[in-house]
Amino acid sequence: MIARTTRAACAAVLGLAAAAFALAPGAARAQAYPARPITVVVPFAAGGPTDTVARLVAESMTKTLGQQVIVENVGGAGGTRGAGQVAKAAPDGYTLLLHHIGQATAPSLYRKLPYKVTDFETAGLITAVPMTLIAKPGYEPKTIADVIAYVKANKDKVTYGNAGVGSASHLCGMLFMSAVGTQLTTVPYQGTGPAMNDLVGGQIDLMCDQTTNTTGQIKGGKVKAYAVTTKDRVKSLADLPTMEEGGLKGFEVAVWHGLYAPKGTSPEIVAKLNAALGVALEDPKVVARFADLGTEPEPKDRRSPEFHKTYLTAEVAKWKPVIEAAGVYAD
């Protein structure tokens, strides 16, 4: 631990020194960036929703930056292995992290996390994928308000599936239970696939997951959908009400994604990355693909590194009590 702190401190000092050095002779070094391929670490397996987001964005950023932006999947330990690796990487802008909401929940979920959220520079938010509350086909309650009433009345009978400790579906479930004020039987799975299989097969009752994973099943009529978890309705699933419309005031959760650089990366490099990211989020191809996933790029007023930083801090604070109340840790 001491070694880690010392290393972080050294990195910070070195980073400051590098930044000062870069500023002094007319930012000559930042001008040259990027001089070689950039690696974006995705802390999850290839082919997952986060990987998809990363590959779409990386393709567009490659065009803008004039250097190959390579996606590297470093899965394991709920995203903390990949994040930890980037936290320790050189702050030169050539090793980046693309992580989702897990970046904000890991500090509470993992009591022995080998890095801190503050070990990163925020380079901008990318997209917030909405989530949907879905149930097995033919589930009794008709509307989201019915579900809430039903769950309150039958908490011993209802089973809620999730894709494992720390997954988005786990977070949404915790928030839902704390909003409704009841504890359901939680059935964890290894990933969304098997959980969805048991939901479609009627083995479990409820689940809440990203539109990326649920839109196909909802449109195909294989599951019953009740609500979306965002503040406003979602374009691709326009007839679904929001949780707030169903009576859960202030209920809002989305799988937001952000780009990070190791702490000490110079502001010029971060600005350059943020600008390239901004271009990617305007790229018609990216916008179209995001729409297929049931999501949209972050609006312009939420794209700055500063906003990302504030948002991250707020999210860390938001989830801490929810996770501590649930008493489930991943370490």
């Binding site: 070689r36 690696t39 390579i70 590297e72 050539y94």
Partner: protein
Amino acid sequence: MGFVRNPKDVISGLLFIALAVLFAWQSRELTIGTAMRMGPGYFPLLLSGLLGLFGLIVLVNGLRTPGEAPSGIVWRALILLTLSTLLFGFAMKPLGFLPALGASVFLSTLASRKFHLMTALIITAVMCVFCWAVFILGLGLPLPLLGPWLGGY
């Protein structure tokens, strides 16, 4: 070794029992729970017990029925091949793909009694070129050819 009639069984029995103890010790702090509501420790402890039991049966068998002793161990191959694998893992990050591969392949050729310096060097060179072509050039694996210690990144 008077009462040890089948050394192979006796050793495997002891090995299984030792591993069972190791695993049981590892799961000592886990909640066991009940058969109806199992905790994370239930399965590991149950299985450790089973492994110990089977180990005991194998051990007792070895004391009762005769059998042969294990043949000689090739220490040279065992040590050199283990070292060459470890070397690959150890050198990969700081030295990079090519040095790690080359060193590991060369070390592994020493394990054979038919070792010949010229052949070993040729194998090493061929493997380096072949793996570079297949994995780096062909498959585009993101592995640095030379690590940070050798001026790469």
